[in-house]
Amino acid sequence: MNLSLKHLTKKFGEKTVLNDVSCSLGEIRSLAIIGPSGGGKSTLIRLIAGLIPPSSGTIQLDKQTVLNDEAFLIEYRKKLGMVFQAYNLFPHLTAIENVMLPLIHVHHIPKETARKQAKECLQRFQLEEHEDKLPAHLSGGQQQRVAIARAIASESKYLLFDEPTSALDPELTGEVLDMINELRQEGKEFIVVTHEMGFAKNACDYVVFIADGKIIEHGASQSLFSDPQTTELQSFLSRILEWN
């Protein structure tokens, strides 16, 4: 994917959360966004997902400018599969119904075909035994995997993850990261906000480091982790790797 941010600023009331961010990334298959909490990572990925409008500046994804227009945005969002930290599934629908919902109502696939596709998708990720369960009866890891399966079933062009594992304990974290990595190997492109540095380093080819509403540093993941240029990134990495 090509992602280009031009003078992107986001304010919530008086508070500036992203401050005149610019960068142009071409031909990236998997992008990790890292940085201290409160730095603006979620805000950035929600801007890219077209869920909130920028205060000023523009975002281009594959040369297409994201317009602040509801009709445009509804079409735009259909191409992206977003998975949040937790509670991605609608609590009143079973796992399979959660997967079917966008197929039927967003992509206008007939109900029976949608059911078949959803079933196949859940099967593919070894989730078929849970298809008739409500989210409350699934583990956190299973919920996240169903949410990812939903994005895959909808044939989203790109996947966007906002800390998909930070609400999970380590064991479940592994099963979700494995799934994302499997998708990467199949050629699925994605952007992920993550605190899992091992994952950012090994499963993402490019990394953007954000702190205090600014992109402090970005680069190919191997070199960025082995040779951080800024003191901010150095101290962030040493702090986060201290106990690893």
Binding site: R46, Y87, H92, P102, L134, A136
Partner: protein, 262 residues
Amino acid sequence: MNRPSLFIRDPKKTDPARGKIALNIALVAAVLFAIVQFSLSRIDHIPRWDQIWTYRILFFKGFGMTIIVSLFALILSLTFGTLAALGNHSKVYFFHYLSKFYIELIRGTPLLVQIVFFYYIIGTAFQIENKIIGGILILSTFSGAYVSEIIRAGIESIENSQLEIARALGLNHRQIYRLIIYPQVIRQVLPPLAGQFASIIKDSSLLSFIAVREFTKVTFEVTAINFATFESYALLAVGYLLLTLPISLWTKRLERKFYYES
């Protein structure tokens, strides 16, 4: 102590034997019956159940009126309640405060005061002469304030994150209401609304104060003639229970069902 007993309940067991339940319920009924019998014997009362039969048509009409008034009040109070909940959410200050005033005024004053106030003052001023319609209006105004709080709680129970996820999936505004918010609000509000209906049925008895000839008013009238107070009020109680008990049991079932589902 692990000895199974006919009389000891184990809170962890969800379905004890039917015979055990029946036995214990019968026991409670017997004790209550004994207390009533004892009280009656102390005042040397010999029940005259034939008096109920004599006035059966009147009782029946009153019972029917209670049902009709309550049903209409339920429907209207859903309308009032929804409007007030929408008003509360409105961006227009006027509607916001209008609904706040409505809810707080109604919830903060006794129904009886409202009935007298509305009926004799507002009703006279605006010439609402039909007592039944006036009664239904008052009852639904009262109940609507509670319904609006039920609906508000139902809407607030839906997390903002769900709306963001729905948008991220590409659902439009109308679909979000139809597929995500509406079905969940219905599940949330159905049990408390059923409870509210039971309240309306009981509260409708206060309409006897403005001479709506519903179940309670009819009972006043009958006892004024035949003095069979005990018999008439026993019938009155049973009549209300006949309406409210099924609702109460149904509410409990709904609550349990939704509890296990979420």
